[in-house]
């Protein structure tokens, strides 16, 4: 079993690499090779039980893609993307990476004539616009960002290439990942992790929305577990649409904070400064959270049981030492 993770340098790619390297098998076969590639060389996987390599790959460049997708690959995880805010600011770059990059990977996979499994991460950013709530398995995709558009197009391509037998694709629309490790960034959703992560690290954080703000969340640990399950699903079970929501759970900001307090005591919540920011509120109020992922739940994917779990996972997996 030869696995390639494209986007292996990101939060999800690194955690997926670690899980696979510990697990040692996928789709009933021993992992004999695990390669992580990204636009910059990904960090190596510590204590790997399987052979792990890292390399650079620019998916916008077909030659680079051909160089990193070898003929003997069995499973390709395509996680690489220009994120939402960047794709909105740099229209050309967003289309080059998120649309043409996806097409380059699918074309290379098709050229191999081995129909490799391709696991593609889409996003709940494909939802929005005129579509009524709740979001069901057959709700229209009406993205209101270029990132969401590019992900929706990637889904369409994945299903068509699978229908033709060129790849065995499966795509999952990721909820907002929280608690996300690392640093705050300029994404409008950044606070959805930072109001927990920074206080748990003993630092102050700003919450720009009200405590009754609702959103749809999944822990990074559960996300990569679902990505492993996603690769292992029977193609026959996927039906005529290879893409689906990945399960998450709806929580309010108040519920997130109460969960943090339940796990880590009252001190962290005191480090949250409430500073209402109308522009952030305007953006995130257009995001959908009432999602009903019936198909993926039926196929065995799952959400977190409680946000307390999300907090515990952060403390166990990601909190910096000291």
């Amino acid at each position: 079993m030869n696995i390639l993770i494209i986007g292996g340098g990101g939060v999800v790619g690194q955690k997926l690499g670690r899980l696979l390297a510990t697990r040692g098998h996928l789709r009933g076969r021993e992992i004999t090779r695990l390669t992580l590639v990204d636009i910059v060389d990904p960090a190596p996987i510590p204590d790997a039980a399987v052979p792990v390599e890292t390399a650079t790959c620019n998916i916008a460049d077909p030659a680079s893609v051909a160089g990193c997708i070898g003929a003997d690959v069995d499973v390709i995880y395509l996680l690489a993307a220009i994120v939402s805010a960047q794709a909105e600011e740099d229209f050309d770059q967003g289309y080059a990476i998120n649309l043409m990059g996806t097409l380059n990977v699918l074309e290379r996979a098709r050229a191999l004539k081995t129909s490799p499994v391709v696991v593609f991460t889409s996003s709940i950013a494909v939802y929005g616009g005129e579509v009524p709530d709740p979001i069901l398995d057959h709700s229209f995709l009406n993205p209101q960002t270029s990132y969401g558009t590019q992900k929706a197009i990637g889904e369409m391509l994945l299903t068509d290439y699978s229908r033709k037998g060129y790849v065995d694709g499966r795509g999952f629309r990721l909820p907002t990942i929280s608690v996300r490790p690392g640093k705050a960034n300029r994404a409008a959703s950044s606070f959805m992790s930072s109001i927990l992560r920074e206080p748990l690290n003993g630092q102050e954080a700003v919450c720009p929305v009200d405590e009754d703000f609702l959103h749809y969340y999944l822990s990074p640990r559960k996300c990569v577990e679902n990505l492993v399950k996603g690769a292992e699903l029977d193609a026959e079970a996927l039906g005529q649409n290879r893409c689906m929501m990945m399960p998450g759970r709806i929580w309010s900001i108040r519920q997130l904070i109460d969960a943090m307090t339940a796990v880590a005591g009252p001190q962290p919540a005191g480090l949250i400064r409430w500073d209402s920011q109308p522009e952030i509120k305007r953006i995130v109020s257009g995001w959908r959270y009432d999602l009903r992922p019936e198909k993926s739940l039926k196929l065995g994917l799952s959400a977190d049981d409680s946000f307390e779990d999300n907090v515990r996972y952060y403390l166990e997996d990601d909190r910096p030492a000291g």
Copy 2:
């Protein structure tokens, strides 16, 4: 008002060109230039009341697209496509024309920085797969052909380029056009026109399905009237999704034939030979016909009043002399 019809050599492009050339105005302004382009030089428009030109254009080639979309264009009709059966057989060509061609046109329009109106013809082939009937304005697009996939992607691109202000796009999913003039072709839907057209021309035709087969139809005359209305819609009225169904009507084969008999007498129906063809039946039984185009009806687009009208339009507009 400078109008360009890309795909101006096809059945819809030619009829649209004639309607615009007779009408003489669009969006409240006099038509000062009307250009029809296609992969081969389109037929000229007879008795045009406005200046008409024709030229060749290969939309798969960005340089060709730049050559035919001048800086002073106001309205671009993008009708050109590799049709369903051909896109299914020639995967590369389908993507080159239907996906990259659409992208090339949108990119050229964006480069002009004038936000021209772009009217895009999609197809009810975007529907299928797992999506429950009836098809509503917010039904998921789950195409089961590469052609349908490419059209669905074109829709997504049109909405995103419009959201960014690069074009003022509007897309319409065309019903099956009948009675279509010209010759029978290898499309699985070919019989939906030929069982009427050939008998009306005094020739025999084969019907490969049962008389209770239901489908969703629109006359070519009504189609181009809707495409004119589509260009004239206020951008504000279109909302956050620039693409919608074009209205059609559901009829059985029996209703089509009865309408022909009502208009043209009993002789034509006698020229239909019933020859059940399992492969054609298999393909067309997967097509959706229970469509509810609420949005476009509300915006003033319309379907035919009766299939008798479709028959009359064919006799008035298209039946070869003699």
